[in-house]
Amino acid sequence: MKEIQDINILAIESSCDETAAAVVHNGREVRSNIISSQIDLHKLYGGVVPEIASRKHIEKINQVIEEALKEADITLDEIDAIGVTYGPGLVGALLVGVAEAKAIAYAKKKPLIGVHHIEGHISANYIENPDLEPPFLCLVVSGGHTHLVCVKDYGEYEILGRTRDDAVGETYDKVARTIGLGYPGGPKIDRIAKEGNPDAIVFPKAHIDDAPYDFSFSGLKSSVLNYINGCQMKGESYNPADIAASFQKAAVEVLVENSMKAVDEYGMYKFAIAGGVAANSALRAEMKKACEKRDMKFYYPSPVFCTDNAAMIGAAAYYEYLAGTRHGWDLNAVPNLKLGER
């Protein structure tokens, strides 16, 4: 028997527009983390085009995997298990990674572990924080997700709140498009907001009465669009940097407020953020402030582990591996996979 402390996982991620592979040792030590981004391709369309994403995945996947193995200086024979994102995400995109991972695991007679994409994002926090262990609260924010999750134990999650409409990253994209910044909106708004006045315009923050941890961003989005339309109708000029800064302030405030409400209610003393929007500088700064005020530890991944990557899938797969999760050769992509479902 191999020591349980010496597990190497080859992880594959292809749920959206990044083709990624990584080798992770014992869930926390990243031996390699290769990401082939398609962002320049999708910029032309103002968002991710599923068919184009899927085509690009099949074109790049072997190259990315071989690079990950090479950089980790490891052979497939020395890999203990293959981890792969099997949902949620774009079905055509997921299928490429799933079929590839299954074939590799089958040919090398290795265990196959399907990983939930959000579980991966949450687990990204383990990579750089050796002291972080459940239980903790985690806010997962990205282009497709806005979830407030209680991580009770490895692989055990309770969703406390989620968005009722648009994901926060999606809202960033829409606002960015409206003020002419283009796709992807998150980093562009973040940068231009630094030149604007966050108090120039007061945009509303939605709170939902019967669900204190749920989010809603469609109202915020509409009020930004209404503001711009109003200016145009009156023939007034507006400053996009001020809009970006004011919008960002409203979005971040509601994320922080709901998160801290949950922190207080659940008596947690560890809080983490994850997902693409977790790289947002304003969100990081405000969360840090709020956590410091409560004397709690605040965890956040480096930007490279915030964006979709395979290292986070390797981290999650490790704990699934220890828990005995194994998938069969009939593993399918599940585009709307629920967190905690096996």
């Binding site: 068919e51 072997n62 079905v91 299928l95 799933v98 590839e100 040919a107 003020i179 000029s237 050769w329």
Partner: protein, 395 residues
């Protein structure tokens, strides 16, 4: 030689192990379940049944397209994963060729049709011809491609078949879909292949695969990708939009500052901030223009004027709109404004190493006046000074 063959291009999932002159195993399923759930378990079952050591395979043959985009990718990713893990080459067998080879020995036109929706089919035309050898009765049957696989409207296919004027045998999942259209349009004798041979069969893919391999026709697992024969809908629509789109030049507004600052950030290492762009806009001595395409800013020009001179501070086009004449349109608009304001000469400086920009300005009529040494920083570089006279605007 031993080949593992895979075809998941259509509704049928099929896998086989083929050796030089015989099929060792074949497993074919034409059922509702998705290929993602069936394909690898089928390979596994088949391998169990014949005690297959995967390492004994010499190559993996895969139906490389056309077909259902997702189906192709499941087969392709499975083959690529196996190839990567086993360090074996892949053999790309065109799907329609594989379908046609089902009808070995048929000396009529073999015409596979796969439903590609919207009255289109993936198709091709094939036949077998006898090549008699001297002094014996054996004669080789040669597989001939009359028309290579392609995507075509059913009407166009019918027209071509009528021109060929030979009897035709159809097969493929397009038959039940377009049977009536064929009946109405064909002027040649035609028939349909029976159930035993009218869909994808991996044994055929493997058989053709061995032929291709022996001809040196194989690739690495990394190189392999499906051949769709069709661009994605998004790409097609974008190409049409781009073709129709005209570049419109207008004055830059305060509302454009963020978009321009974003482009600055993407294009220049010493990018201007939004505030710097706002200041240029507010300065009455500047000319600030943007070029728009389908409502999106794709380029801009910022020029400082002094007396009868205009000095280009910034001229840029976003990466994806270059070589579409955006910068030329901006320069044309600048000439008009300069002419109206009695400005006579346009000046600029450009990085020594920026070949594209230098070529553009030369083509636009600028000539070199001199060099300002080490003018630029990050990286340090000489500036090439250029100028030309304002082009007169015809009234």
């Amino acid at each position: 030689m031993r080949v593992l063959a895979i075809d998941s291009s259509g509704l049928t999932a099929t896998v086989a192990v083929v050796e030089d002159t015989q099929t060792i195993a074949e497993y074919t399923v034409n059922f509702k379940k998705t290929h993602s759930q069936t394909l690898l378990p089928m390979i596994d079952d088949m391998a169990h049944m014949i005690d297959l050591d995967l390492n004994s395979i010499d190559a993996i043959a895969v139906a490389g397209g056309p077909g259902s985009f997702t189906g192709l990718r499941i087969g392709s990713a499975t083959a690529k994963g196996l190839g990567l893990a086993l360090k074996k080459p892949l053999i790309h067998v065109p799907t329609v060729d594989g379908l046609a080879f089902n009808l070995y020995g048929c000396e009529d036109i073999i015409c596979p049709i796969m439903d590609a929706r919207r009255n289109q089919v993936y198709t091709g035309m094939y036949t077998f011809t006898r090549r008699k050898a001297e002094g014996c009765h054996y004669s080789e049957l040669v597989f001939e491609v009359l028309e290579a696989q392609n995507a075509a409207p059913v009407e166009a296919l019918i027209e071509r078949l009528n021109i060929h004027g030979r009897p035709v045998v159809f097969l493929g999942d397009g038959v039940p879909v377009y049977e009536n259209m064929l009946a109405n349009g064909l002027e040649v004798p035609y028939s349909f292949a029976p159930a035993a041979m009218n869909r994808q069969r991996a044994a055929v893919v493997g058989t053709l695969g061995i032929q291709y391999y022996k001809e040196g026709n194989f690739e690495t697992a990394m190189e392999h990708q499906p051949e769709y024969l069709r661009v994605s809908q998004a790409e097609r629509e974008r190409a049409e939009r781009e073709k129709r789109a005209v570049v419109e030049v207008r004055q830059m507004k305060v509302e454009d500052a963020a978009a321009v600052a974003e482009m600055e950030h993407q294009i220049f290492p010493d990018s201007w901030s939004e505030k710097a762009i706002m200041e240029s806009l507010e300065n009455p001595k500047t000319i600030c223009l943007v070029a728009e395409k389908v409502g999106k800013i794709v380029g801009y020009l910022i020029v400082y004027t002094a007396e009868d001179e205009a000095d280009i501070a910034r001229l840029a086009t976003v990466q994806e709109s270059r070589r579409f004449g955006v910068a030329s349109e901006l320069m044309r608009a600048l000439d008009v404004i300069c002419w109206e304001n009695q400005i006579q000469i346009i000046l600029l400086d450009v990085r020594e190493g920026n070949g594209d920009a230098k070529a553009f300005y030369a083509k636009n009529g600028f000539t070199q006046d001199g060099i300002r040494q080490n003018f630029y920083e990050n990286p340090q570089e000489d500036a090439i000074l250029m100028s030309r006279a304002v082009k007169p605007t015809k009234k």
